[in-house]
Symmetry: C2
Subunit: 225 residues, 2 copies
């Protein structure tokens, strides 16, 4: 049967990927670069979050961004306008980043010293959850208009993430969105996940997210100094 | 390099899939079943559209639904409550439906006579665009909160579809959404695509979409009688 063959291929690929991701994670720790992988559906606000984060963190933390896009470079251009080093990876049809693609991104970023490197993964709640990028922390965005039932449909994504950002809370008044039900489903999958409510449009909640990122960076540096 | 190996595997799989999809399409035409494949990001409104379509088409057209979900059965249950035959395919981690999975769905639906069979594909703008399901018409939903730049990022999806439904137009007042820019990008990729603006919440635009579906069904029957 077709599916069985496909699964075998996938398992081989996943095992190779996990090995490379572990190597990357260790290498980056030694360099003092905290790697943050940001995942979500298309249009949930990954680029907006990155832009808001750049503004919120200020200049004492040196940032870098790896932008994954199937085809276009619109996101990379927006980030670049903020004066932050950015590498764009065109996945050319692939629906996720893997550790090898991130490794190529790191090589292209080599001339910069980066404290916190944010990856904008491909907009997809499925495959990015399966492919370890080598990140130290995985972050997902769920935007209010997508609905509160997403943990039931994409449980792996909610399980592998350290942080859930509920974005577009400025839509709450209009949306049929049960925040309590969402939290119940999410915590059932992942009891230790950290949740922040934000609006990349109004800026609400961004300072709390930025403070968390600063703490991670400090803990990371302390561990290795 | 890792990617090159992956591409080869993918090409083999795609070639096999295309053959099976063509067989399916012909077989369904002979049976008089119009197969409609509905694709979108997670949370754009696929299930809501299917429910609204069931209500709008009434009982003179016999409907059926194939629901793809990674894990849960919430969508299938919602459809089933409408009294329409529904088959659920749990893709178990796969981020798209392929022709083989649809074929299995059809076998499970065999005891029903179905005029229009709607597939709710996995919520994803990437892989579902690459895997032909055997559908006669491909339909995508883009919801207003996702933004007007999606054709730049997911061009293949917009290229392979016969219809684009712009959903959640009740959010237009709140959203920073340039409908003209969207249309320009979409028509550059796909000059013959049919666009409907709808709101599955208020019902606006649903009659036009339902009328189009009726026309397709009539043309389909005429062609084979």
């Amino acid at each position: 049967m077709d599916e069985i063959r496909l699964i075998e291929v996938k398992e081989d690929i996943l095992a190779d990927n996990n090995r490379l991701a572990d190597e990357l994670r260790t290498r980056l720790k030694e360099k003092g670069t905290l790697l943050i992988n940001i995942m979500s559906s298309p249009g949930s606000g990954k680029t907006s979050l990155i832009l808001k984060t750049i503004d919120a963190l200020g200049e004492d933390i040196r940032l870098g961004v790896i932008e994954a896009d199937i085809e276009s470079k619109v996101d990379a251009e927006k980030v670049s306008l903020r004066g932050v080093p950015v590498v764009q990876i065109r996945t050319g049809g692939f629906c996720h980043l893997d550790a090898n693609m991130v490794n190529q991104g790191l090589e292209a970023m080599e001339q910069h010293t980066v404290d916190v490197l944010m990856i904008e993964n491909v907009g997809n709640l499925v495959c990015p959850a399966e492919f370890d990028t080598g990140a130290h922390k995985n972050v997902m965005i769920l935007s209010v208009p997508e609905g509160d039932d997403k943990p039931l449909k994409y449980p792996l994504m909610f399980s592998v993430c350290d942080v859930l950002l509920i974005n577009k809370i400025d839509y709450l008044a209009l949306a049929d969105f049960d925040g309590e039900a969402l939290r119940r489903h999410v915590f059932a999958l992942n009891p230790t996940i950290k949740i922040f409510e934000v609006s990349c449009k109004t800026g609400e909640g961004i300072p709390d997210w930025a403070a968390w990122l600063r703490e991670q960076r400090e803990a990371f540096v302390k561990e290795w100094s």
